[in-house]
């Protein structure tokens, strides 16, 4: 096929997507239920945990769990939403995580008559319950919300018991360093991050508590931080070239974690999502730290 014909076909396809209302037909919400667009991985997980997955007509690109969301239209990255894109899914409610934006777009959605519900953020179990409250109320699923809250509370108690039990076994909380690797930039987590919070919940101590936020990794700072365990996201582990790659990062070999080869990899969405899987995530990290 000549280049020109390919271009013509693409142009026709572009025209077609603009003129035909196809996205509505692909994902009809069952009659009587609210059509919901969910923005934010944690928010979407809560919607699904409430048993309202069939209400979803669209999610943002950070909503990757559960895998059954795969076929849903994706409205883009949560900070760069498109007003028309979201409206094209004809939602009645948009559940927006606190980072969602830009603000103009959220205002345009509200002006168009869509109920925009901001879901508060936070790195704690209490904030998870607060998120759950807001989402359950927005979907008029208060009963399911209360049931889920009770279940989460029970799981959280198990989790904290496990953390306390593991904690009692050692004299000191293990020093933990969280590494985030995207492309060439290798960043480590200071305080005020989800990683810092989850390390604390799991009974560890952030090895880099002297700095705030994610900062580029510096070999000397790593040595000085002297982590006992290095936690890394699965993607980060792959990017670094496996455990050996992480151990070969500047400075890491000279740390206790580097000498003992203690690198633990987790799915970042699972570990740092602060959604309904928080008790499991904290338990898993605590178990890994206690090894």
């Amino acid at each position: 096929m000549s280049a020109r014909r390919i271009w013509l076909k693409r142009a026709a396809a572009l025209l077609g997507t603009g003129l035909l209302p196809l996205s509505h037909a692909a994902h009809p919400a069952p009659p009587g239920l609210t059509r919901v667009v969910s923005v934010g991985g944690d928010v979407t997980e809560i919607v699904c945990a409430l048993g309202a997955e069939q209400c979803l007509v669209g999610v943002d690109s950070t909503s990757t769990h559960p895998a059954s969301l795969n076929g849903l239209p994706v409205v883009g990255y949560m900070r760069a939403l498109s007003a028309e894109g979201v409206l094209s899914l004809a939602p009645q409610v948009v559940l927006a995580a606190s980072q969602a934006g830009p603000p103009v777009v959220l205002r345009q959605l509200a002006d168009a008559g869509v109920k925009v519900v901001r879901v508060p953020a936070g790195y704690s179990f209490e904030s998870l319950l607060a998120k759950l409250d807001v989402v359950a109320e927005a979907l008029a699923l208060q009963h399911a919300g209360e049931a889920l809250a009770a279940e989460l509370n029970a799981r959280w108690q198990e989790c904290t018991a496990l953390v306390a039990q593991l904690r009692a076994r050692r004299a000191q909380a293990p020093r933990v360093m969280y590494i985030m690797a995207h492309g060439n930039a290798v960043m480590v987590s200071g305080t005020q991050t989800g990683a810092d919070a989850v390390i604390g919940l799991a009974g560890g101590r952030n090895a880099l508590e002297a700095m705030e936020g994610y900062k580029p990794l510096s070999a000397e700072a790593v040595v000085a931080a002297a982590p006992d365990v290095i936690v890394v996201s699965r993607e980060g582990l792959e990017m670094a070239g496996g455990v050996e790659g992480v151990l070969a990062m500047p400075g890491v070999a000279m740390t206790p974690a580097g000498r003992a080869g203690r690198v633990e990899a987790f799915d970042a969405v699972f570990l740092l999502g602060f959604g309904p899987r928080l008790p499991e995530a904290v338990s898993a990290l605590a178990t890994a730290l206690g090894r």
Partner: protein
């Protein structure tokens, strides 16, 4: 008056000679702009079938007219397309005027630090806005970042002008060097801000520098249109003096052009137009550099044509790029700054390749 008459007389002959080529060019550009605007209004992530589109445009209660159609068309899509027309024209006009001033086809609004100044101020507002201004920041609401960016662009322009002026004369070479220095300085401070920014702020900053027309609302359209109008009138009045400047500064001076006054007015007009555009759209590269360049290879160097045609071409480029940004990955959206380069570069290279034969 007598001064400008002599300039006018000098360039009359060439203007008449290129008239036929220019009118074809204008016809093509106007047609392209019309097509781009029609497509921009007709197409989007939110599908409005053609019959309903007419009803929604006229706000006529037709069969199956949904309130949502009218809202999407009138509150989201139309202002956005108009904002693309205005900002595209402003960026291209700004680039055209600066290329004339510097007598260098590589000049663009980024070169004299306008974009860098705006970006620095926007970064300050994003990263430190809450702490620095507190209640003031909240009262600005959606306009905080644009207001900061405009102020930053104006400050950068003023600073560069001060650095380049000596004894009431502004050196173009110094403008260029001061621009480079200011660019480097702003880049360094933005880097520092990125370092202290938290994750949220960092991502917001990244998206700001990629450019977007999502701010397109009627008040924004009105503000940018006013800036384009004011700046455009000033540049249009300077067109013959810019032509004279093509011959060199001293030649222009001997033709009766007040070169210093020309520089000041030109910088003021460009700062106003480009500063206001950048304030609302973030950094959209390429258009200011390439639209005037394409127009010059096509219609010749006369600023009468270069200014008008640049504005038209800039508008066409940005409306098309934004249409692609809105529809390509719908219901998501691409950063438009990425697409202006993606769409413009092949066209630009094609023109260059064709012109190369002329040099052989």
């Amino acid at each position: 008056m007598a001064q400008s008459l002599s300039v006018r007389g000098l360039f009359r002959a060439r203007r008449d000679g290129s008239y036929a080529a220019a009118s074809t060019g204008y016809a093509l550009l106007a047609l392209a702009l019309m097509m781009a605007v029609v497509c921009g209004v007709a197409l989007g992530a939110y599908a409005i079938p053609l019959p309903r589109l007419g009803d929604a445009l006229l706000m006529r209660a037709g069969e199956g007219l949904a309130a949502a159609d009218v809202h999407v068309l009138w509150s989201i899509r139309l202002p956005r397309v108009l904002l693309a027309v205005i900002c595209g024209a402003a960026l291209a006009l700004g680039g055209c005027a600066l290329q004339g001033l510097f007598r260098n086809p590589l000049a663009d609004p980024g070169l004299i630090g306008l974009s860098a100044g705006a970006a620095l101020a926007a970064a300050l507002a994003i990263v430190l806005g809450g702490q620095l201004f507190g209640p003031l920041a909240r009262s600005f609401g959606l306009y905080l970042i644009p207001a900061a960016a405009l102020l930053g662009a104006a400050l950068a322009a003023w600073l560069i002008l001060r650095l380049a002026s000596h004894h009431g004369r502004t050196s173009v070479l110094m403008l260029l060097l001061a621009g480079i220095a200011i660019n480097a300085l702003c880049g360094a401070i933005i880097g520092g801000l990125q370092f202290v920014a938290n994750d949220d702020q960092l991502r917001n900053l990244t998206f700001w520098t990629l450019g977007s027309l999502a701010q397109g609302r009627w008040p924004v359209v009105a503000i940018t249109a006013a800036a384009l109008g004011l700046g455009g009138v000033v540049l249009w009045r300077l067109r013959l003096q810019l032509d004279a400047l093509n011959l060199g500064e001293s030649a222009a001076y001997h033709l009766g052009v007040d070169v210093q006054r020309l520089k000041l007015w030109l910088l003021a007009a460009v700062t106003l137009m480009v500063g206001v555009s950048v304030a609302f759209t973030g950094i959209i590269g390429f258009i200011g550099l390439v639209a005037p360049h394409i127009v010059r290879t096509w219609l010749g160097p006369s600023h009468r044509h270069a200014l008008l045609a640049s504005a038209l071409l800039g508008a066409v480029l940005l409306v098309s790029a934004d249409l692609a940004a809105r529809t390509w990955v719908a219901p998501a959206e691409m950063p438009v700054g990425v697409l202006t380069s993606l769409l413009g570069t092949p066209f630009f290279l094609m023109l260059l390749a064709r012109r190369r034969h002329g040099f052989d």
